[in-house]
Symmetry: C2
């Protein structure tokens, strides 16, 4: 499977503009032979949590989903895109949706580790469902930004059966070390491909730090973007590389989960 990762700048509050940018990238990704495009966190609304409720007065999460489905089907490419999602009690989540190339929504994931007071003021933490969907022979899991900084989250998705973890992200300066350090480690330690798609440039008061990356289960970096400037990364995910790496690195089968449960205790007591 060939995948593409979009690194780009969104305009806070301008859903039309942002969806059009996703559509432009989807066309270029499809022309480049990609079967799947992964785009950044809350790219549809722009990454300014405080503006999301106002943006949703002009459109709805359901309308955004329909437009993303149209992008996938009109461009003929599967798509991971992130948008606000509303729960049954009106609460908002940060979601990532996976659409197939016909525009069918295969999975929706709600971010389980919110980052900082700005996100917590607007959004509710997801309750931990880790959907997995099959596409082109790969089982695809979803996480969002801060989630992936926790090894437990990628581990959970890998234990749920994922081969590829797609992670829409909004990583700001000065945390570029996170993008350079953690996705390759997650890929190696949990034996999955990782597609990590970040914003670049300024949105509201936040300067996003780019450095989007595609990492492989052997810890290699298949593609990486710079800190500034838009980019469209491509990589071919080789199932044979993953099979060989899982034969060399038996991390998923040689874990000691009973010990890990016991090791949680000091924190809970403390």
């Amino acid at each position: 499977m060939r995948i593409a990762v979009l690194q780009a700048n969104a305009v806070p509050g301008q859903v039309d503009t942002n969806v059009a940018r996703i559509a432009g990238a989807a066309r270029r990704a499809a022309e480049g032979g990609a079967h799947l495009l992964v785009t950044p966190e809350l790219f549809t609304t722009g990454y300014v949590p405080a503006l999301v409720p106002r943006t949703l007065l002009q459109t709805s999460p359901e309308a955004i989903v329909r437009r993303l489905a149209d992008v996938a089907s009109s461009c003929g490419i599967a798509l991971v895109a992130s948008a606000p999602d509303r729960g049954p009690d009106g609460e908002l989540f940060i979601a990532a949706h996976l659409f197939d190339r016909a525009g069918a929504r295969l999975a929706t994931y709600r971010k389980t580790h919110l980052y900082g007071p700005d996100e917590a003021a607007v959004f509710t933490q997801g309750r931990g469902e880790l959907p997995i969907a099959a596409l082109h022979g790969f089982r695809i899991g979803l996480l969002i930004c801060y989630d992936i900084e926790f090894p437990e989250a990628v581990r959970g998705v890998a234990l749920a059966g994922a081969d590829l973890v797609c992670a829409p992200t909004a990583l700001p300066e000065p945390f570029g070390v996170v993008a350079r350090t953690l996705p390759p480690a997650r890929a190696l330690e949990s034996q999955v491909f990782i597609a990590y798609a970040n914003h670049c440039g300024q949105e509201g008061d936040t300067v996003l730090c780019g450095q989007s990356i595609i990492a492989a289960p052997d810890g290699s970096v298949l593609a990486a973007a710079g800190a500034a400037g838009e980019d469209l990364l491509f990589a071919d995910l080789d199932p044979e590389l993953q099979r060989a790496s899982r034969a060399d690195n038996r991390y998923l089968s040689e874990r000691r989960p009973d010990l890990y449960a016991a090791w949680e205790r000091p924190a809970r007591a403390g």
Copy 2:
């Protein structure tokens, strides 16, 4: 606190030679102002698991511990060193001992993730005790080689209160990507200093891959050795850097352990 990390070649079965090499490094580390020297996995016996039982016909784990304590006290430096350790039923563990500069043994850790059939043929897996000992204002935890490739193990030591994790290692070719990728990620994600001491050169049929490394809680690399050749790394561990990093990166307090416990279930059912 200034620490030193020894990267060196051991001679399988030659405990006298190997302890003398540790003593030489301890003298140089102390002369360089280090308060603690960290040395590689099973350096005392050499890293050839199959030879360890025969080596222990000529000496005992207790005798090796006494000689390591003598090194620490005669050189006036705290020491982390690894040796076989015998359990109450005669079973062997791979251990790492921490001695203070007076030669008092402060902690002994038994490796909980054995690597491969050669280790499993000789050694028993540790039962998961994670001792922590205080030294120069740092709380020091111990792990060994393959342990550190599991994020859960470093997390466990960090949750138990460690500021610095010392990891005697015997990482072979072609797994250098592990040494380059995982220690900085572990340091960043669990907000600890990591001192990772590997062998270099050939021992028995195994070629060890060097690349010993000292990593900081902000993900930075304080010192790193090459793949071939002996080295003695030095780094000053700044508690203020750790405090600032823990203010920036709240990974230890923003975990969701109830979800992580739930995410173990697919693996156990599968």
